[in-house]
Symmetry: C2
Subunit: 317 residues, 2 copies
Amino acid sequence: MDQFIDRLERSIVRRGTPVVVGIDPHLSMLPENILPASSAGTAPCSEGWDDRRLALAMQSFCRGVLDVVTGLVPAVKFQLAFFEQIGPAGASVLADLVQQAHRGGLLVILDGKRGDIGSTALAYAQGMLGAGSSSAWGGDALTVNPYLGDDALEPFVQTAQERHAGVFVLVKTSNPGGRVFQDLIAEGKPIYRHVAALVEQLASKHLGKCGYGDIGGVVGAVYREQLAELREAMPHTWFLVPGYGSQGARAADVAPAFDPRGRGAVINNSRAIIFAYRRREYERFGPGRWQEAVEAATRDMIAELRAETPAGRIGLE
Amino acid sequence: MDQFIDRLERSIVRRGTPVVVGIDPHLSMLPENILPASSAGTAPCSEGWDDRRLALAMQSFCRGVLDVVTGLVPAVKFQLAFFEQIGPAGASVLADLVQQAHRGGLLVILDGKRGDIGSTALAYAQGMLGAGSSSAWGGDALTVNPYLGDDALEPFVQTAQERHAGVFVLVKTSNPGGRVFQDLIAEGKPIYRHVAALVEQLASKHLGKCGYGDIGGVVGAVYREQLAELREAMPHTWFLVPGYGSQGARAADVAPAFDPRGRGAVINNSRAIIFAYRRREYERFGPGRWQEAVEAATRDMIAELRAETPAGRIGLE
């Protein structure tokens, strides 16, 4: 099996786009025909909703999303929180969806932002990483949190290399509070630049044919200048860029994440795609045709990135 | 229901000890009679071991640990990584163990070191926090990672308050690499002191009768001076102190974590208790009597803390 980063790059070229669809199944946003609001007006997860019923609704919705985006995009990103939220039943749903995604040729990024020390980090890494290996979850890649330092990242890096998987380390997050610690200045540069330096070093150790490493970085789309700054500082680090769509970033904002050949970044969009039926632009579909809204929103985002970023050059060489 | 921190303090007084037993079921360390090494010499999690068999072994072991420590200690801490490692079957085992712990009157700390932004953090919080509530996992408390900043902690803080649960935020971790980012100096003090200031502020907002808040901090036991420094800087923050036992810390090292009345800290010990049968001090029991080794190691740690730290004053007022 090829290195993760080369599989990702090839899949991007094949689909002609670096769009990643984020599967964040917020219970309160599922279409009515998937999870009807209770007649008593109770919200999901309150009394009267059992985990099994929620799990079936979540499974049905996510399968429907995968049906639409398979063949359109190179990868999907599952947000683990929403599956964990409904307990063991959610775990089974997630395992099933990872298999469906792989059958459809989609790469799977598990967005768990995990992080722990030593043998505990190793347990996370071995459980999460390794499509087609003995890994329980079989992710092609996992997001991890750097706060615990370099030795805590090492088990993820090692396991990724052994299993031809990838890791995306949080560098700069897109939420306003991301500044509170990440932007503190130490030794003349912000903390996120210290994290960036470590990630670039890890990425550089094991480069794929595409010139990038299997250790990537999560860099929020909110700050255009920081994307450009980090793209320059991290020439071997592939970026996973969240924040497109519902968090406000548009194609022009994420353009600096790419190298001149349109490589070096995947752009994630979760809610603005999977819940597109709730957006004014796609209200013509209504909740009953939510899958058509998913497809329209995905195709529109692909077109936006082709028109306004170096990703438009993908597949034209 | 009382605030989390008052339930924790009362439970500590009732048991006469702040010892927390960490349930970290490393597959490779389970006793032979629980998980026999395969005749082919394969390691757990490699080919030939199915998740169901591993889950049953893990369940049997952890139930055995809970049987021993129920009534001896106020709380247990489940390390989520080891349950996640074996996939959906591990999720069911964890849910079962949380229930068993609660039936035995143990408080449950879920050690997941979760962290994400906005509605995703809320999904983690709502899934994990709230014994006896509609929470899927029903933890009394959860560990969280601060790298994403104050707004990312807010959903955990809010949910904890609503559900009478607690949160332990990573402040200073006990691994050597914890220094890499946590000890960088910004605005005249290390990053972990910036995190400490935020945690203390969150803790102070909603104090229990015991004088501490429901928002606690994780402070590793490795650096005695830093424990003392943080105890002084965080007078309303209860500490969860890992690193005792297998990571090298002893009673004298953790003494500064307590206030003069023996309050303000719980001391976690995972491997050196649950796998005590592997330690020279307890080799008299052998693998077959591993539960007796768990009991002996727990009682020894309780005695050490009573003899050498302010925790010896608990229950004597």
